[in-house]
């Protein structure tokens, strides 16, 4: 177990090192940092001085080490566009994205599990077939199209819900939440539905296929032979086992959902990290792009490593490989 733990942590550290190398590469080689930071008509001497100040005249390896020690201390540099520390910018935007992702995940689970069960247990009912057909359309519809259609229907035509921004937010310490005000909650409805629909199809299809798999296994057949009630078999014995992978996938998907929120946040002008990132891409704001990459990379590595280790903890068979 200890060996597995060390191997997994080592792998995670290696991936993070690779991600920081890419991030450093962007800083150092994409665009000229000196040109970006100095005033327009700076003399050659001034530029050389700045170059020395920034340490750009030292060997690349030394520069990379300096970069690593800075990011470990939480210093991601200054945004080219806003002239503010990148760490502050991300910290400000983080609550908006996390609230959106959390609400979307809960929504997709609350809808996806019952629909998946319906499709697995009563595959020939009209409702189940309808759900299956709609789910295929759901997979084929890009998030931004769903968002635009929802805006057109509920914001432009019916005028019921706001279509951009977060509404009023309440500041609790460093965290600004939109969950406590009416306008905040109203503003959350359309974006979270849009993001949840992307996830919903996946959860529904997964619940369906897992449940079908479990229902054809031996222990369920024996339970049937024992004469247990269908209700007990389906919901107590089968569903519990079928939901294990669903929970894992939902956990793993949180990272993707944060990344995918870029699209939803763009459609709804939701002031989260995704919008920050896409603005950084269109303004060539390298420090923000690099920091976002590092942040999402860290998130993915932490989630993947945690899931792997938890699995090894739960399932002894996995401890042998490593």
């Amino acid at each position: 177990m200890l060996r597995l733990l060390l191997a997994r942590l080592g792998q995670a550290a290696l991936v993070m090192l690779a991600v920081s190398a890419v991030s450093f590469g962007m800083f150092r080689f994409v665009g000229d940092p000196v040109a970006a930071l100095s005033r327009e008509n700076a003399t050659i001497a001034e530029k050389a001085e700045l170059r020395e100040q920034l340490g750009l005249d030292r060997p690349v390896v030394v520069q990379f080490a300096g970069f690593l020690s800075r990011i470990v201390r939480g210093d991601f540099g200054i945004s080219f566009r806003n002239q503010r520390p990148v760490a502050t910018l991300i910290a400000e935007r983080l609550p908006a994205t996390l609230e959106l992702v959390l609400v979307a995940t809960l929504l997709s689970l609350a809808l996806g599990i019952p629909l998946g069960v319906l499709c697995a247990l009563k595959p020939d009912r009209v409702a189940a077939r309808l759900v299956q057909a709609v789910s295929l359309i759901g997979i084929s519809t890009p998030t931004f199209v769903t968002g635009i259609v929802l805006i057109l229907t509920f914001a432009v035509t019916l005028g019921l819900l706001p279509s951009f921004g977060r509404g009023e937010t309440v500041q609790i310490g460093p965290w600004s939440t939109g969950l406590l005000t009416l306008s905040g909650l109203k503003a959350l409805i359309l974006p979270s539905i849009t993001l949840a629909l992307y996830q919903l199809t996946l959860i529904m299809r997964l619940v369906r296929s897992e449940l079908i798999d479990v229902l054809s296994s031996d222990y369920i057949r024996f339970a049937r032979a024992r004469g247990l009630s269908a209700r007990h078999i389906h919901f107590t014995l089968a569903l519990r086992n079928a939901l294990m992978p669903v929970i894992t996938v939902t956990g793993l998907q949180i990272g993707s959902l944060i990344a995918f929120a870029i699209v939803t946040e763009t459609v709804f002008q939701w002031p989260g990290m995704g919008l920050l990132f896409i603005q950084a891409v269109s303004f060539s704001d390298v420090p923000v792009m690099a920091a976002y990459l590092l942040f999402v990379g860290l998130l993915f590595v932490v989630i993947n490593t945690a899931v792997d280790l938890l699995y090894a903890l739960v399932d002894p068979r996995l401890r042998v490989r490593a």
Binding site: P142, F144, V267, V281
Partner: protein, 300 residues
């Protein structure tokens, strides 16, 4: 197996026929766009700003010249959509081809040689796969734009997009082909050609490759839909095709700016075409995947 496969092929469900037909019609219309489109949206002399934002012909103040209305520059929307679908399909198809060639090649090498070569290729793939497609594609497209200012031009953007999409997709091919290659490498016929002393390259390409191609075609079909969607998303986010040479995603991006003023058609018609195209390819891809899935064989 061959017999059961051909029997199953004869029982293609109606929905798959219709979906396939829909996809083929859209692809054909896109391919023939210069012949069937009423206007050429890339020809600056063919449209006029006076015609901008005209609603579709069937609405009360529609213009008979423009079946689906016009966009913000006065371009005929139907023509722009046909040309846009062409761009989307070419980029999606290009990305699938690049990803398949790279992935199949690396998968063959990893599966055939094994050892550290295998470990290096597959670990690299693992790292790539741990990031979502859209994030990697955005980074690649964004960095490319910063390094070469020409990257956002109509000539270069398609190649940047193909690279940005393929950088994530090749791993799937590599994984599948690697597993299949490992199985084939242990078979007698491969051992026999090794004994004859054929060079590795020839064994891989001439003898193993034809036997591992089946699943590759299925992945390619499903990935075509995904690649078209990724391209549309990138263009929608503003790092894809420029407005002068729009793909479907660019058209939706343009339309999105006018949604609030009640101009719904610029966004909705291209979106509808995109969804229909992807839906058609997805249904066919799903069916193909089930056809090749041994677990589902015999269930009808």
């Amino acid at each position: 197996m061959a017999a059961s496969l051909s029997r199953r092929l004869r029982r293609v469900p109606l929905s798959v026929w219709l979906a396939g037909l829909m996809a083929v019609v859209i692809v054909a219309a896109a391919a023939l766009a210069p012949l069937i489109a009423p206007f050429d949206p890339t020809d600056l002399t063919s449209f006029n700003l006076i015609d901008a934002e005209l609603p579709p012909r069937f609405s009360p103040d529609g213009d008979p010249r423009f079946l689906l209305g016009t966009d913000n520059q006065g371009r005929d929307l139907l023509s722009a959509m046909l040309y846009g679908a062409r761009v989307s399909i070419l980029i999606g198809g290009g990305a699938v081809m690049v990803a398949a060639v790279v992935g199949v090649g690396l998968g063959l090498i990893a599966g055939y040689f094994g050892g550290w070569v295998d470990a290096a290729i597959m670990r690299f793939g693992d790292i790539i796969l741990s990031f979502p497609t859209i994030l990697l594609a955005l980074l690649v497209a964004g960095v490319a734009r910063m390094l070469f200012p020409a990257a956002s031009s109509a000539e270069w953007a398609p190649f940047i997009l193909i690279g940005a999409i393929a950088i994530h997709e090749w791993v799937q091919y590599a994984r599948t082909v690697r597993a299949a290659t490992m199985v084939e490498s242990a078979r007698d016929y491969v051992r026999a050609v090794k004994v004859i002393g054929l060079p590795s390259r020839q064994i891989m390409l001439r003898h193993i490759l034809p036997n591992v191609m089946g699943p590759v075609l299925v992945i390619a079909t499903i990935n075509l839909a995904a690649a078209v969607l990724t391209e549309a998303t990138l263009s929608f986010l503003g790092v894809g095709m420029p407005p002068t040479y729009p793909s479907l995603g660019t058209l939706i991006r343009i339309g999105n700016e006018f949604v609030f003023s009640g101009v719904w058609w610029i966004a909705l018609f291209p979106a509808l075409l995109l969804v229909l195209l992807v839906l058609g390819v997805n249904i066919v891809g799903d069916w193909l995947r089930d056809l090749f899935n041994p677990k589902l064989r015999g269930r009808g």
